[in-house]
C-alpha cells in the first residue's frame, strides 16, 4: 500500500508531480494506493500493472477527471465528492464516487463502470459510447443529474435512481438526451423536456434483471445496500432509448397544396377580384394562352400548303374549297410563327393578342 499526502503545510504537490509519483510506483509493481489528494487531476488512469494485477486507488478530495481514461483492472474509490469530468473517457475501469460528481461525469465513457453515490452535474453521461469489441460502459447515479444530461449519447447504459428528487422535478434535469443516438437511460421519476427522437418505455425483463444485478453491486459500492428493496420496484423505472436511426422520420411536413387548401384563405386571397382557377400552364401553351396568333389572309394565299407541312404542332387546318381555306386550330397552335415565317406569299401574319 502506497500512501501519498499531497499537502505539506501550504505546499501542494502539483498534478504533474503526483501523477509521476504514482506512475513510478505502478512501474515498480505497487498496486494499492491511498491518496490524500488536494484537487489533483486525472488520478487513477490510464495505468496498468505489468503482471496483470488489479490496481486500487483510494482517493480523498480529488480534482477534475478522477478516473479519467481508466483502464480495465483499475478501481478508483473516491470517498466523498469529486469535481467535473469524473470518469472522463473511462475505458474499462471501475470508478466509485461515494459523494456527488461534478459536471460532465462519465463524459465519453466507452467501457467500465462509474458509480456515483450522490448527484452528477450538468451534461452527465454526454457522448457515452459503446465499442462492440469491448463490454459496454455503465454510469450509475444514486440521486439526480444536472441539465443537458446524456447529450449525444451513443452507447452504454446509464442509471439515474432519482433518490431524494423533489416531486414534479425531473431527475434528469432540463433538456436531457438531446442528440442521443444509442444506448439506454434508466431512471425513476418523471422526465419532461425529452426530444422527439427518443422513446420513453417501461423496462422489459432483460432490463430489469440487468438493473437488479447492477443495483445490488452499485448500492453496496456506494454504501447504501439498504436501499435495494426501495429501488427494486419495477413500476418506478422508466427507460429512454433513441428511436433507431432507420425509423427516424422527419416530422411530417404538410405539402404546400394541402396547407393552401386547408389553412389558407379559401379560394385564395384574390379570389374575389380575379378569376384564377389555379391552373399552371406550360411555357408554350395553345389557345388563349398564346402570346401571338397566326392570322390567315386568303387573298395572298397561293395554296402551296407549305404551312401545313411546316407546322410542328399540326395545327394548320386546310378546308377544301375552290381554293384551300386555312386556319390554325387554337387547341393545338402555340403561336410559334413558323407558318408565318415560311409562307412565301405572306398569307400568314403573327398578331399579338391581348391577355384574356
Amino acid at each position: 500500500m502506497v500512501r501519498i499526502k499531497t499537502l505539506d503545510g501550504h505546499r501542494r504537490r502539483s498534478t504533474q508531480e503526483l501523477l509521476q509519483t504514482i506512475e513510478a510506483a505502478v512501474l515498480r509493481g505497487d498496486t494499492e494506493f491511498d491518496i490524500e489528494a488536494s484537487g489533483q487531476h486525472d488520478i487513477g488512469g490510464p495505468l496498468w500493472n505489468r503482471e496483470g494485477k488489479e490496481l486500487l486507488f483510494r482517493v480523498r478530495n480529488p480534482g477534475q477527471r478522477v478516473g479519467a481514461m481508466c483502464l480495465p483492472g483499475t478501481t478508483v474509490l473516491v470517498d466523498g465528492p469529486a469535481p467535473a469530468d469524473a470518469g472522463w473517457l473511462n475505458s474499462g475501469g471501475r470508478i466509485v464516487i461515494r459523494g456527488d460528481a461534478g459536471d460532465t461525469a462519465g463524459h465519453c465513457a466507452a467501457a467500465g463502470v462509474i458509480q456515483i453515490g450522490g448527484r452528477a452535474g450538468a451534461r452527465a453521461g454526454s457522448l457515452m459510447k459503446h465499442d462492440p469489441q469491448y463490454e459496454e460502459p455503465s454510469l450509475w447515479v444514486l440521486r439526480t443529474v444536472g441539465d443537458f444530461s446524456f447529450e449525444f449519447m451513443g452507447g452504454g447504459r446509464a442509471v439515474v435512481c432519482g433518490l431524494g428528487c423533489a416531486p414534479a422535478v425531473s431527475p434528469l434535469g432540463a433538456r436531457p438526451c438531446v442528440g442521443m443516438v444509442g444506448g439506454a437511460v434508466y431512471f425513476r421519476g418523471e422526465a419532461d423536456d425529452l426530444p422527439e427522437d427518443v422513446l420513453l418505455s417501461a423496462p422489459d425483463d432483460n432490463d430489469m434483471s440487468w438493473l437488479k444485478a447492477g443495483l445490488a453491486n452499485f448500492l453496496a459500492s456506494v454504501g447504501h445496500p439498504d436501499l435495494l428493496p426501495e429501488l427494486s420496484d419495477r413500476r418506478q423505472w422508466n427507460k429512454i432509448t433513441p428511436v433507431p436511426f432507420e425509423q427516424r422520420k422527419r416530422a411530417p411536413v404538410m405539402d404546400m397544396g394541402t396547407f393552401r387548401r386547408n389553412a389558407w384563405v379559401p379560394g385564395g386571397i384574390f379570389g374575389d377580384v380575379l378569376e384564377d382557377d389555379g391552373r399552371v400552364t406550360e411555357l408554350a401553351a395553345p389557345g388563349d394562352e398564346r402570346l401571338r396568333v397566326p392570322v390567315w389572309n386568303g387573298e395572298s394565299c397561293r395554296d402551296c400548303r407549305l404551312c401545313l407541312k411546316s407546322c410542328p404542332r399540326k395545327a394548320i387546318v386546310r378546308t377544301d374549297g375552290e381554293k384551300g381555306v386555312y386556319s390554325a386550330a387554337c387547341a393545338r397552335c402555340v403561336g410559334c410563327g413558323l407558318c408565318a415565317g415560311l409562307c412565301p406569299c405572306g398569307a400568314w401574319r403573327m398578331t399579338e393578342i391581348a391577355s384574356v
Partner: protein, 372 residues
C-alpha cells in the same frame, strides 16, 4: 481559465481561508496572480468600519500624488494597515513598491450630506485617483487604486498566489487582516496582457463581483454601459460588464435582486410569456438587450449589505458549487476547494446552481435558492 471562490462567515476569518479554498483548484487557473476583496472587516480596521478605506498599490511618487490629492480634497487619514512584507528572494511576485490600505475621514462638508452624495464622492475620488496614477503617453503607471469604500479592502498582485501569500504574510493569521466576507480569484492576466485592473474581483460602490468565463457579448455590453454611468469604466476585462450590470440593476434601477439574472440571461420568449411578470420581463429584455451576456460564465458577487449571490450562464458551461457548515458558507468553482476548508460539512447538501438558478446567502447565512 480561472477559478473563483468566496467565503461568508459569521465570525471574521483571515485570508488564509481564501488561499486554502483556492489551493486545490490550482490546475484550473494559471497561477498568474491573486486577488481578493474583503468586506465587513475586523482586526486592523475593526474600529473604523464607517470610514472609507483606500486600497492601492503604487510607487512612492504615486503615494505622494495621492496624499496631495486627498489633502487638497479634505480627506484626513485616520487609520492604516501597512503590510509587513516578506522580501525574501525567489518569490514569484511582481510587487509594487508601496501598498496602501488607509481609512480616511470624509471631508467636513460631507458630514452633512446624504449617503448617496457620499457614495458619489467615493466613486469620483477613486476615479480621480486612478486617472492621477495612470501613466499617459507611454509613461509608466504610478499606481493602481482598487477600491475606496468603507469596510472594504482589496488586495491584488501579479505572481504565484502561494508566493504572494508569503510576501504579504497571509498565511500567518496574525489577526490584523480579517473579514466576514472574502471574494477571491487566482489569476491576473487577461487573454492578452498582464493588466492589474483586469484581475477579478471588481469593485464598484459596494458591489464586488468575480467570474469565471468569457462574456462573448462583451463589446455590446461595453458599448451600452459606457453611456449608462461614469463608474462603468476601464473595461479591461469582459467580466467587468457583469459587475456594472449588477450595480445598474440594483443600485441605479433599484430592482429586486432576481432581475439581475433576468437581465444578464433573459429567458427565451416562450418561457417568458408563461411568467406572471411576463410584461415586465419582456420590456426589460427589450430595453436592456445590450446587457445580456452570452458565453460561459460562473459568477460570484457580494452586495453592499453583505449578501452574497452566485449564478451561471444560461447553458451552465462553468462549474460552481456552494457548501455550508454552521457559521460559514463557501462558494467556489470546484468542490475540492470546499473539501479543503469545510471537510466536515454535509457534502450531500452542497448546492450546484444550474443555468437558471440564483443562490443568495444572507448575513445570517440563510440560503435562498431561486429558479429563474
Amino acid at each position: 481559465m480561472c477559478r473563483i471562490g468566496a467565503i461568508k462567515s459569521l465570525t471574521p476569518v483571515s485570508p488564509s481561508w481564501a488561499l486554502r479554498l483556492m489551493l486545490p483548484q490550482q490546475e484550473g487557473h494559471d497561477n498568474s496572480g491573486f486577488a481578493m476583496v474583503m468586506q465587513d472587516l475586523d482586526g486592523a480596521f475593526a474600529h473604523s468600519k464607517d470610514k472609507p478605506l483606500l486600497s492601492m498599490a503604487c510607487t512612492s511618487k504615486g503615494e505622494q500624488l495621492v496624499n496631495a490629492y486627498m489633502e487638497e480634497h479634505g480627506f484626513t487619514p485616520v487609520a492604516q494597515w501597512t503590510p509587513d512584507v516578506d522580501r525574501r528572494s525567489g518569490l514569484n511576485i511582481a510587487a509594487m513598491p508601496r501598498y496602501v490600505f488607509r481609512n480616511y475621514e470624509y471631508p467636513e462638508i460631507y458630514h452633512y450630506r446624504t449617503p448617496e452624495e457620499r457614495e458619489d464622492l467615493l466613486l469620483d475620488t477613486r476615479l480621480a485617483l486612478r486617472a492621477l496614477l495612470t501613466g499617459r503617453d507611454g509613461a509608466p503607471d504610478e499606481g493602481y487604486v482598487y477600491s475606496f469604500w468603507p469596510d472594504v479592502l482589496t488586495l491584488k498582485e501579479i505572481g504565484d498566489p502561494a508566493d504572494i501569500a508569503v510576501y504579504f504574510r497571509l498565511w500567518e493569521d496574525n489577526g490584523r487582516l480579517m473579514a466576514r466576507n472574502i471574494v477571491t480569484q487566482c489569476r491576473q492576466n487577461t487573454n492578452y496582457a498582464i493588466v492589474r485592473y483586469a484581475a477579478h474581483p471588481f469593485f464598484l460602490q459596494g458591489y464586488t463581483l468575480c467570474a469565471n468565463g468569457e462574456n462573448t457579448f462583451f463589446s455590446r455590453n461595453r458599448d451600452f454601459q459606457r453611456t449608462l454611468h461614469r463608474g462603468y469604466a476601464g473595461f479591461e476585462s469582459d467580466s467587468q460588464c457583469l459587475l456594472h450590470t449588477l450595480h445598474y440593476v440594483l443600485h441605479e434601477l433599484r430592482w429586486p435582486l432576481r432581475y439581475y439574472k433576468h437581465v444578464i440571461t433573459p429567458l427565451p420568449l416562450p418561457d417568458m410569456r408563461e411568467r406572471p411578470d411576463s410584461d415586465a420581463l419582456i420590456c426589460l429584455r427589450e430595453s436592456l438587450a445590450h446587457l445580456e451576456i452570452n458565453g460561459p460564465n460562473a459568477i460570484i458577487a457580494l452586495l453592499p449589505d453583505g449578501r452574497m449571490l452566485t449564478c451561471c450562464d444560461a447553458k451552465k458551461l462553468r462549474p460552481l458549487v456552494v457548501g455550508r457548515v454552521e457559521g460559514m458558507t463557501a462558494i467556489t468553482s470546484e468542490v475540492c476547494g470546499l473539501n479543503t476548508i469545510l471537510p466536515d460539512r454535509d457534502a450531500g447538501a452542497d448546492i450546484y446552481p444550474g443555468g437558471r438558478d440564483m443562490v443568495v446567502i444572507d448575513n445570517r447565512l440563510e440560503v435562498l435558492q431561486w429558479r429563474q
